[in-house]
Symmetry: D2
Amino acid sequence: MQSGATTNSDNPSASAGPLAPALCVSRWFNAQADISLESLRGRVVVLHAFQMLCPACVSHGLPQAMKVHRTFAQSDVAVLGLHTVFEHHDAMAPHALQAFLEEYRISFPVAVDRPSPNGPLAEPVPTTMRAYELRGTPSLVLIDRQGMVRLKHFGNIEDLALGALLGQLIAEPAEGPQQSSPSTAAGDSTGAPTPIQHRAT
Amino acid sequence: MQSGATTNSDNPSASAGPLAPALCVSRWFNAQADISLESLRGRVVVLHAFQMLCPACVSHGLPQAMKVHRTFAQSDVAVLGLHTVFEHHDAMAPHALQAFLEEYRISFPVAVDRPSPNGPLAEPVPTTMRAYELRGTPSLVLIDRQGMVRLKHFGNIEDLALGALLGQLIAEPAEGPQQSSPSTAAGDSTGAPTPIQHRAT
Amino acid sequence: MQSGATTNSDNPSASAGPLAPALCVSRWFNAQADISLESLRGRVVVLHAFQMLCPACVSHGLPQAMKVHRTFAQSDVAVLGLHTVFEHHDAMAPHALQAFLEEYRISFPVAVDRPSPNGPLAEPVPTTMRAYELRGTPSLVLIDRQGMVRLKHFGNIEDLALGALLGQLIAEPAEGPQQSSPSTAAGDSTGAPTPIQHRAT
Amino acid sequence: MQSGATTNSDNPSASAGPLAPALCVSRWFNAQADISLESLRGRVVVLHAFQMLCPACVSHGLPQAMKVHRTFAQSDVAVLGLHTVFEHHDAMAPHALQAFLEEYRISFPVAVDRPSPNGPLAEPVPTTMRAYELRGTPSLVLIDRQGMVRLKHFGNIEDLALGALLGQLIAEPAEGPQQSSPSTAAGDSTGAPTPIQHRAT
């Protein structure tokens, strides 16, 4: 988990792409029913991948996710935690996570990433974490109103930079412009959204 | 200046309006020539009003302005300081400000707000501060790409909330939609930009 | 564990008394052999009682204990952690603590407080915690060079105040004055060490 | 003043010596009459040398001095500020300092270090600062109950380490042991107090 405390050097703006992979979840906390990304379409989704024993997650990532949850209207931004245990599996089982969430008073929905079908010994990285190709914890995934992954960031990110990314995504229409105005298709065959640009901090 | 350490309770989103008043400046620091708001049209302007002996400005407002200056591309966001001395005028004269800016290594342009023509004894609040109706220091004014005041905020504002406001303003086009659609003619009240909405923190 | 995040209002200086009770330990981490308080006689002992899922322990108490460990000579001050699990026993078993200590890079010796012989269901508070009458986590116990408890503090304590207490205890001789002056015989109430006085912060 | 932001590498414990030089003061703030070190004999004196436009003084040194002032009994510890202006003299004149002290709500006595008799152009370092051979701001001088300089530290010092030094000095008797017990003079002709030892952080 030591890698989780460092920031990545890759460009966090280069992650635009297709629809966000579905979440593979073995259990939800702080949710009355399962939550699918489809059900959140139209809202910006902040997916915070963490491990309960990852120091940078506890000191930085989770407090930031809680702050995002407090700051933005739920109709604009949905915050989801994703417990992506890829080490110390015995120490971070769901019953331990439950105690952790209670002690840290985390109130947004948290999903337990489904372990690999081959078991954590054969494949320690859980299913959703693999599908999103996350490098460690904490990682932040931003999904736009249309369901596209717009940012994957490993390590800490400053509040100011994260706020700017969210402000930009919130400002985008829930319905893509390329669908409402066919003429813009000319010269833009992919219709892909513009990747978010922000200067490295 | 004690008021400068408190946050305001008014809604920071309610400040949309006409063109930002011109800056009345007696002296510029960190600028090779005078800077007008007109010359920054097309960029988002972050105007940070401060006093060099205001504790909340020194501990929060100015470091935040420096962080904004570092984080965003200068082609998108212009950061300006405005030294709005309304008390202790003798202790915060321009030569003292110069030493302050040097010691704190503030590198963005800083304007000295022009004192009232009647002198600070008769009218302690300087000219630009009065034109913007700022309540104290620190105050933050956000001006959009078209030159409209979109936020006036007195007191501290969190990085996450400020980032979101900036991300939204950066995402707006430099040319107003009312110009590309003639039906929203001059005088059409609907052509006004939408005030920025963000939840109070 | 919510009580662990609050500070106590009792006077932390009122805890002088007899010899510190022996540690009842089911397992040591970061120690090559069992450690007894007797073996530390002549040094000041900083005993930090914590739970690995207690937020105030993780954000304040443990970093402070690590700082004490770094700051003082080991010949003067011995830092010991004491994992006093009194809730969420399943989530904070020794194998989970081991992962926690590794992730947080805690390098001083840590003892697992021995569970009550009746089992945690009948008596959730472990043995040493009961012997010291600790109210929750984090708690700090200071033991002087002669083995006397000189401070029990529940909740956060500021670095400056803790440093002053340690400076005073370090300055005391390892051999008590009552031993060099036979007139302060056994049973002489005046031979008791002076409780540490410090102003509440 | 850039040097003021760095910590020194010299040993802060090596400063024991003769009686602390007298303070040469042109003006006192927060004091009803002049304060001499002699009048504080019997108490530990914390002398904090600062400049009002020195960033490390404002962010670290002065808040720490205020915390010392709050934490310890005034009968044990006297906190004095010393405004040692050695640059930007025009910007940090006494009237500016007065505004600064008011805005930052500094309540302990503050002395203005007397400028060199030759004037700041010929000799920018003021008189007391030269007598104490201070290297810059912030600097901390600790004087024991008998009036001896026991520590001179340039740059930041951690609360924990400062607390330990103060705890040790507070524990010392106001009357030196060498004076009340002549027999200890044998083999210790100087009678000098032991320099404070603490591990560099």
